[in-house]
């Protein structure tokens, strides 16, 4: 396949593309500039307070997307497959967090005044919730790889992809049977009550920076930095990078490839679990389908940033979050179209940079 001569029809297509692509780009760019100009300058629809609120929303959701997107990118970097069950791994973490908070809430520390464990020791409660959520998700990611992907390691690349979609549907339905299809409300410790936060006065209007949002964003950034250090500075990280570059050579150098892949799934699962617990804390609703939409969005973010590239996934996640919250306002379109906008941006980026914003050009071996 290496030295195959391009077919004439392909060359003809690329000739056409050569003119089509710039024209398409210029048209879209002009349209966006026109809309931005009319909304921001002529109509002046939103004040600084609204923009700040939209920015806050975008950063919070973007942080969660980034955390989930990292999972896609890690697994893709090593196995060159999209783990479509990743959103469901996140869902399991969200459920674990929910059950931990419920359990801690039911432990009474003192009856007068009525005080339960999760309000008496909020920090410890939150740490327990994250520890359990990340463990559950890490283990489910690990088992997922063992059961659904490892037996298909030698199969064509489409096969594990189908297996991943199957695993995703299986996990959703299993959760529906196990935990009932009802929506569950997550009860946070009092210090992280939803809807309260710091108030800043902008344009004569109170802009609230919710505690849960700050907590979510700060924690996702911390976890992303932690992951970056693991990948760059530790022995495990070096093994992961080696396996990503070339499995055969890595094995010849004495790296246990299977073990490294398992560890990658553990790490990506743990991050998804943290994202799940955060989702429960910030948005407050957990149900069997809760992982699906964030999963799809994070996959988009990973592709946007350049799949297989760690900083790319972080950037893609934040970028997508900001586009979703600020894009419709900036272009003056209905907010229901935010997904259309997000996917349109994805198409646009892929048209001009097929390997994503920060993606590298893939070597022959990987392709």
């Amino acid at each position: 396949m290496n030295e195959s001569v391009p077919l004439p029809i392909a060359r003809k297509g690329s000739q056409l593309l050569k003119y089509l692509r710039p024209t398409f780009g210029v048209v879209v760019l002009l349209f966006i500039l026109y809309r931005l100009y009319s909304v921001l300058v002529i109509r002046h629809e939103y004040g600084a307070d609204t923009w700040t609120r939209l920015l806050i929303t975008g950063l919070i959701i973007g942080g969660v997307y980034a955390l989930i997107a990292i999972g896609y990118t890690l697994v893709y970097g090593i196995l060159f497959m999209i783990n479509f069950a990743h959103g469901e791994v996140m869902m399991l973490g969200a459920y674990a967090g929910f059950f931990v908070f419920e359990a801690l809430k039911s432990i009474k520390v003192s009856s007068e005044p009525p005080l339960n464990f999760s309000n008496a020791n909020p920090v410890i409660s939150i740490i327990i919730a994250f520890a359990v959520g990340m463990t559950v998700s890490a283990l489910s990611g690990f088992l997922l790889e063992k059961i659904a992907y490892r037996p298909l390691r030698k199969a064509p690349r489409l096969v594990p992809l189908i297996s991943a979609i199957g695993a995703s549907i299986f996990l959703q339905n299993a959760a529906q049977l196990l935990f009932s299809p009802q929506l569950r409300d997550v009860t946070n410790p009092e210090i992280l009550r939803r809807g309260i936060g710091w108030k800043i006065l902008i344009n004569g209007s109170n802009v609230i920076i919710p505690y849960t949002g700050v907590f979510t964003f700060a924690l996702s950034i911390l976890l992303l930095i932690g992951l970056y250090i693991i990948v760059r500075k530790t022995k495990l990280g070096r093994a992961m990078r080696a396996v990503a570059l070339d499995k055969k050579t890595a094995a010849l150098m004495g790296i246990d490839v299977d073990k490294t892949i398992s560890q990658t799934f553990l790490i990506s699962g743990a991050l998804a679990g943290a994202a799940g617990v955060m989702w429960g804390i910030h948005n407050g609703l957990v149900y069997y389908f809760v992982g699906f939409i964030p999963g799809i969005k994070a996959f988009t973010a990973a592709v946007l940033g350049g799949i297989g590239n760690l900083p790319g996934a972080m950037l893609g996640g934040l970028f997508l979050g900001l586009i979703e919250s600020m894009g419709p306002a900036a272009l003056g379109i209905n907010f229901q179209l935010k997904d259309v906008l997000a996917f349109a941006i994805l198409i646009l980026v892929l048209t001009f940079r097929p390997s994503g914003l920060l993606g590298e050009v893939l070597s022959e071996e990987k392709v």
């Binding site: 629809e45 004040g47 409300d185 802009v207 149900y287 979703e324 907010f335």
Partner: protein
């Protein structure tokens, strides 16, 4: 190899056809086989002339009423509640010449796809004669054409989209007041009683919410109010802070929401952190119920909704006691439609009894076409939530809604 493949394809196709076939057979089977088995005088003549034939029940068998309802997911409270009201009606109906009545509640998830799937399932069941449903407007619209073909009369307790009765369907009827009436009353209440001059509208993009919001927008503007923004949200999402922030910049005095509790509760919560803390949340009959109170807590205080609680008649008190004894909660807390669920089922069963004929063989024959006509002709039926007379388009109720407001964590009638 090719022949094998063809064989497999044919087998699968054959299986599919046989699986779908019962949809058409029950009526045909009655028409053709019944006279052959039994002497002619035992099968009532009405079955031969009826457009859809008869459903036949031997003594001891059960006449089924099929309810398509959201039994799972965030809006399951509606399905659970309404079906519980319907179960009680079937129990109260007793027996008719040896046959009893039963309500079968199938999960349609409240979605059009689910509605069509459930409708096909009922159409394939020869024991189903009538449909006390569906519950949500989208599911109802999708199910309607299937019941038209099968000849099942529908009497919905809660599908309120105005367009449903404008399609000229002979089978669809409802006792819920329509969104057109609710929307007009809501716009009037906002403008006159609450003194709202600037209103923002949000809907969930589905048949019910969107239809309701369109009516409110028109009526509110007609009264002289200003609609400052109309936005749509995506159901099943959990973060609406971006859209609410954009609404806040238009400084509305109230936010009217057309949709259901799942999203309504999230909106009421997130309004408190997006600069809309002083705006009134005004919901509809889709956002009423105990779930809303539970999910909003203090954030729900002062929110409006529509309740369908009927006045305290003797029949209502008897039903309330029976409902609480059977299910452990008061009717009207899970959803506002508990009483409607009872009423539609009772009305349908009384119509089944009125058209059913006992054949010479002791079996009960229910002529389907006659039943459809009988339900449309429903006249002065006294139910718990009112007296119902169906008009030619299938509207059986025209009374207005009762607005309720959250006060100290409970729904109370609005002043």
């Amino acid at each position: 190899m090719k022949a094998m493949k063809l064989l497999v394809v044919l087998t699968v196709l054959a299986m599919l056809f046989t699986a779908c076939a019962p949809a058409a057979t029950p009526t045909a089977a009655v028409k053709t086989e019944a006279p052959a088995v039994a002497p002619v005088d035992e099968v009532p003549a009405v079955c031969a002339s009826d457009a859809f034939g008869c459903a036949v029940f031997a003594p001891g068998e059960v006449v089924k009423l099929g309810m398509g309802a959201p039994m799972t997911g965030g809006d399951s409270a509606f399905g659970l509640d309404i079906s519980q009201g319907a179960f009680l009606a079937a129990k109260d109906a007793g027996d008719f010449n040896g046959v009893t009545f039963e309500v079968v509640a199938e999960d349609d998830g409240g979605s059009p796809e689910g509605g069509a799937a459930v409708a096909n399932k009922f159409a394939a069941d020869p024991a189903v004669v009538a449909i006390p449903g569906h519950i949500f407007s989208g599911a109802t619209a999708a199910a309607m054409p299937i019941y038209e073909k099968a000849g099942f009369p529908m009497l919905s307790p809660s599908a309120t989209n105005p367009a449903l009765t404008t399609k000229g369907s002979p089978v669809f009827n409802r006792i819920a007041f329509t969104d057109a009436i609710q929307g007009a009353f809501a716009a009037n209440y906002l403008f006159e009683k609450l003194g709202v001059k600037k209103l923002a509208l949000v809907h969930d993009g589905q048949d019910y919410g969107k239809g309701l919001v369109e009516v409110v927008a028109k009526e509110f503007a007609a009264l002289g109010g200003e609609v400052v923004a109309t936005e749509a949200i995506t159901p099943k999402e959990t973060d609406f802070t971006a859209v609410l922030s954009a609404l806040a910049s238009k400084a509305p005095e109230a936010v009217y929401f057309g949709g259901y509790t799942t999203e309504g509760a999230i909106l009421a919560n997130q309004m408190k952190q997006t600069g809309l803390e002083n705006a009134v949340f005004f919901g509809c009959d889709g956002t009423y119920g105990a779930d809303f109170l539970e999910r909003t807590g203090p954030n729900g205080e002062g929110a409006f909704a529509v309740s369908l609680t009927p006045p305290n008649t003797e029949a209502k008190l008897v039903f309330d006691a029976a409902y609480e004894a059977a299910y452990g909660s008061k009717p009207g807390t899970l959803s506002p439609f508990s009483w409607n669920g009872y009423d539609v089922t009772a009305a349908l069963i009384s119509m089944v009894k009125s058209v059913a004929v006992v054949g010479g063989d002791g079996k009960v024959y229910v002529p389907r076409g006659a039943l459809v006509a009988a339900v449309r002709g429903l006249k002065d039926h006294v139910g718990i939530s009112g007296t119902f007379t169906c008009q030619e388009n299938g509207e059986c109720n025209a009374s207005g809604p009762l607005f309720v407001v959250v006060k100290d964590g409970a729904w109370v009638p609005a002043p």
